[in-house]
């Protein structure tokens, strides 16, 4: 189904100013976040900066990706800000070849997740506001120097997260008729034209596969003179099984950085969820004693190193070695691991949805009293009534079945993907080749369910305090 042909929704998306309208909305929300974060009450549950980012933005982002697609990249206000800045400053340089790929964006993603835990950003409205400002500043500076969507493609940590997650989205932008593209002489979808820029992320639509590196900006839709691009429904995750060369990315099987993104995306889901549980605090205390740490960062560094590097390296190399042995494969260990790494994304997404969905479902209504309170602060009168501080959301205990369903659905997706990869790459012994990876997924699933069943402990660790 082509969503661009659906009444109302399709008409809106095909409207040339649909994206700026969505971006403007998020820009205004970002402005509110910054202003309330900087000048509002510094009590996290009473400040829009922390409430909107920790509860609503993260929750709706992940739900939107699962339900529709990469909508938050579509509506990214940072791109609107940099578009405005480019009216004044015109970038002249291309992003350096040696910096291309996902390694830098991946490092920034880990840095953001690490900083979130280290500085307890959920409890820091002012720091959250500065982080948002920092994001905007970095996007504007990078894209004022380098052409295209250099920030989105190579740096943006949120973007890299969204790219990985959106491989499981039920929609993608793709061509309608291949023959139309074959006879096209202008390639406006990537080159653009006088009225409309082409894809800034270097995706040539006839060779584009899936959602990796696609911000769903719809520039290609507006640029195509043949109206040959659809926002089509599809099977989530199927793009990860494509072996062919894809525009802007090459072959997945040759991209160690993309495989690393898939692995970090998955294991970071566990680390991030674990960090807010009671056993995490006990582990931090024990690690601090063991390594003699008097600050939190070395302890967190050990947890992140263990969770995002050592554990994945051991598990994946172990599973890869077993697969090669069981299937008597001649593929190298690296090639085997690269092939199967993408199968982890569904379970990783399931864990992220379970985690962020928990906060969204249990805290969705907190926005109401916080807005009411902000209105009282601003105008001195309860123009919106209240504040109704009792408005929170669902009881935490009632959300667990939903979390369980998300994780199990993700695990089922990963298992199906493992089997499909084995049938594709190890046709002689697909079941045996799959076995070690199924064990890895079972291990991840069990760990996720254990973490989600632990009592939460929302603490900003005061080390040795």
């Amino acid at each position: 189904m082509n969503i661009l042909r659906v009444p109302v929704v399709g008409s809106f998306l095909r409207w040339r100013h649909a994206r700026p309208a969505l971006q403007l909305l998020l820009l205004l929300i970002a402005l509110v976040i910054v202003l309330h974060g900087l000048f509002g009450p510094q009590l996290a549950p009473r400040n829009l900066a922390t409430v909107l980012t920790s509860i609503h933005w993260r929750g709706f982002l992940i739900v939107a990706i699962v339900a529709v697609g990469n909508l938050f990249c579509t509506a990214c206000p940072m791109v609107l800000a940099r578009d405005m800045s480019r009216r004044i400053v015109h970038p002249a340089l291309r992003w350096p070849r040696w910096l291309r790929g996902k390694w830098l964006g991946l490092a920034l993603l880990v840095l953001v997740l690490f900083s979130y835990e280290l500085f307890d950003l959920w409890s820091q409205p002012r720091a959250t506001a500065w982080l948002v400002l920092g994001y905007f500043g970095l996007a504007i500076v990078i894209d004022s120097i380098f052409k295209g969507a250099s920030f989105c493609k190579h740096l943006c940590p949120i973007g890299q997260f969204n790219f990985a997650a959106s491989t499981m989205s039920p929609t993608e932008l793709r061509i309608i008729e291949r023959e139309t593209c074959r006879t096209c002489r202008t390639s406006d979808c990537i080159k653009g034209n006088a009225q409309q820029r082409g894809c800034e992320l270097g995706l040539f639509l006839p060779m584009k596969v899936g959602n990796l590196d696609c911000t769903m900006c719809l520039d290609c839709v507006h640029a195509c003179p043949h109206d040959n691009i659809a926002l089509a429904t599809r099977t989530p995750g199927a793009e990860l099984l494509e072996r062919g060369r894809r525009s802007g990315l090459g072959r997945l099987s040759q991209r160690g950085d993309l495989a690393a993104l898939a692995v970090v995306f998955t294991f970071a889901a566990l680390v991030s969820a674990f960090a807010m549980t009671s056993p995490a605090y006990v582990l931090e205390q024990r690690l601090a004693t063991a390594i003699g740490a008097r600050a939190e960062w070395p302890v967190l560094a050990v947890i992140f190193l263990g969770g995002l590097v050592i554990a994945p390296a051991l598990l994946l190399s172990g599973a890869g070695t077993m697969t090669r042995l069981f299937a008597e494969s001649r593929r190298t260990l690296r090639a085997t691991v690269l092939a199967y790494a993408y199968a982890l994304i569904p379970v990783g997404l399931g864990i992220w949805v379970a985690h962020y969905g928990f906060h969204l479902l249990t805290g969705a209504l907190t926005i109401v009293p916080v807005v009411q309170s902000a209105t009282v602060d601003a105008f001195g009168h309860a123009l919106l009534g209240g504040p109704f501080w009792g408005w929170v959301g669902l009881q935490p205990g009632s959300v667990f079945p939903v979390q369980l369903g998300c994780v199990l659905l993700g695990a089922a997706g990963s298992m199906a993907m493992v089997q499909a990869i084995s049938e594709r790459d190890q046709p002689s012994q697909p079941m045996l080749a799959s076995a070690p990876w199924l064990v890895v997924i079972l291990l991840l699933t069990t760990t996720a369910l254990w973490i989600l069943s632990q009592p939460m402990e929302m603490r900003a660790v005061r080390f040795l305090g």
């Binding site: 205004l28 409430v51 929170v392 402990e457 005061r462």
Partner: protein, 138 residues
């Protein structure tokens, strides 16, 4: 082009309005800063689900106990999106006030004590209670 300029102007106006709101909000001073508040909590450290008694003593700048204040207490977590707990505050005499409450989740809590003093002045204080523990991990 015209749409873009209009959008830019709209964003600028919105920014100015929100800035002025923010600055107006942060420009206020808190008269209750002159009140000295001492507090204890029992048991300490507190445990999730267990009954907890918070004792507050209020003194003015001349060290005189403040009696007759009408106070309420609310506990919120440092993480947004969590249910708050509320407790009635009862005066025990000599400027001492007592509140009984139960924390519903482990982690860091902030007790917000607010109300009015005998002279009608508004009063608000925040007390950080770090490290509320689960019973099994205490």
């Amino acid at each position: 082009m015209r749409v873009g300029q209009r959008a830019q102007r709209g964003v600028l106006i919105a920014a100015l309005v929100l800035c002025s709101i923010g600055l107006a909000a942060c420009g206020r001073t808190d008269p209750s800063d002159a009140i000295r508040v001492a507090w204890t909590i029992d048991p300490s450290p507190p445990l999730v689900g267990e009954p907890i008694v918070a004792l507050l003593s209020l003194h003015d700048s001349n060290q005189k106990p403040i009696t007759g204040a009408r106070l309420r207490l609310e506990g919120v977590m440092s993480h947004p999106g969590m249910a708050p707990v509320t407790a009635a505050v009862v005066e025990r005499g000599e400027g001492v006030y007592e509140a009984a409450l139960r924390f519903t989740m482990g982690g860091d809590w902030i007790l917000v004590v607010s109300g009015t003093l005998p002279d009608g002045m508004a009063f608000k204080k925040q007390i950080e209670i770090n490290g509320v523990r689960q019973i099994h991990s205490a």
